[in-house]
Symmetry: C2
Amino acid sequence: MTDLKDRIKSLVGEDLRSIEEALEKNLNPYYDLVSAIAGHILFAGGKRLRPLLMVLSSRICGYKGNYDKTFSVLFEYLHAATLIHDDLVDGADKRRGKPAAHTTYGNPQAVLTGDFLLARALSLAARTGLPKVISIIAGITEDMSQGEIQQLENKGRLDLSEAEYMDVIFRKTAVLIRGACQSGALIAGANPEQEQALASYGQAMGIAFQMADDLLDYTADSMSLGKDIGADLREGKLTLPIIHALFQANDDDRLWMETLIRKQSFDDEEFRRFTTMIDHYGGLSYTRSLAVEHVRRAKQSLCIFPESETRQILDMLADYALVRKA
Amino acid sequence: MTDLKDRIKSLVGEDLRSIEEALEKNLNPYYDLVSAIAGHILFAGGKRLRPLLMVLSSRICGYKGNYDKTFSVLFEYLHAATLIHDDLVDGADKRRGKPAAHTTYGNPQAVLTGDFLLARALSLAARTGLPKVISIIAGITEDMSQGEIQQLENKGRLDLSEAEYMDVIFRKTAVLIRGACQSGALIAGANPEQEQALASYGQAMGIAFQMADDLLDYTADSMSLGKDIGADLREGKLTLPIIHALFQANDDDRLWMETLIRKQSFDDEEFRRFTTMIDHYGGLSYTRSLAVEHVRRAKQSLCIFPESETRQILDMLADYALVRKA
């Protein structure tokens, strides 16, 4: 399955290099410390999925300008801003295998650098001169902050419904990826049908991506994940695998799972038993099937575009959501 | 001196009521909790100085539209966002006589609600449809977050210079007030000379305002201030009164002051002695004279506008910066 990653990388290698350059060039902080803290998360091996999606979305709509890479990095800044604030909010101490920003530099510095990155993203949005792009970016930030607050409030709630889970992952993950794709269409001057198609692609892809991410917490090993496994469970964060399993389980097993969730601490043996149990009740396969369905929808949305290498790469990126290991 | 406050209030009473209405109407959070946290700081008796400055700035440039109040509240949202994050960053537990948002609702919720308010401000900026206004707002946020980080890094630095102090207060306070005034000019379609005059007014006023604020920490009583006096000193935050006094003091007194600053804790008697000492070395009068000079510059900037009630109110607001008690 690393095959797919390698194939994508060989097709978008040049784009990724330009994006990497633009990420450095457009950060422009006034103070060195801001540069260091922002760089800590920005240059720690992110996948650059969001900028790449914007660049490919503008390309599939026939964009011929020179600003796609520059504008695209705003989505990475926005992403990095939310990662910094979320790690702090979740009390997570690792990110991409490195200490989280707030652990290294302190909470106040992390809050303020997140604010700076948010502002930098919006400055770049303003530079597009497209009011709709600017509204989208501002709307994304509103949605993401509210999705995170909602997730926080949901922590430990054993009666969380699938609909509430979908609402949160839509806000905290899908709107950003949708926004990147839609903004790509907008800078290319796409027609409304193309804009809508790419927005749908991004939204479905974002949901699949988050579901796959939530699965990794129960299927990956901590080395490839770059953070501790079982982190969601330890925080009392109920994701779809658990929600589904709790719904399906018999009374005894549900009680055992609920007790473990409430405790928010467990040893390796208990975590293994918990994972086996949610698997037994179809939590993992159900989540995977929904993710697969969203990938299908994402690719389906692209059918209005004629076959092309760009469309093929977008298809592959949707598939990649499901097979990635971190 | 409450006279001035009452006179201003009677002249802008209707504007303030419309601003208050717009503050409620444009917040629009999706979740009740976000509304509660944002409301906690937004509706705790703020002066609405920034929205008012935008409304008056657009009026003095002949604005005849209906959107000045709506747009103006973005500056209060932005202000509230930074207050929430700053209280958290400073570990301050009181704001306007009430517990700070992070104390009541928790740090994570405070971080995310600040993000939401920031985003809401930018959504409103996007609605102006004026790229320059949007760039200004994004730039303000970049400056403010960096000014706060710099202030944080400066904490406890006994060698802080007056120039460094000016740099920080410019970023953390003056750019926002300047931005409110400049944006008022821009929505009114003002000419460049008018826009520049109002930007200069706002910048000078913002600096005077912050200097007066820094003085209050040594001259006010905690009841009217709505927070503990001596908070700056307790946090190791060196403001102009101290910077100037340290520069002027003899070796013995400087050593005593430096020791107290390093200790970051003191009783009432020590604080009184400290205040007497910085007063003795002209720290208070020097800061006050610079604030007076900036108020003069602010009013001077308005000379390009013919005499009018609006110009008179803007003059009075500049004067108010110096006489306010909280």
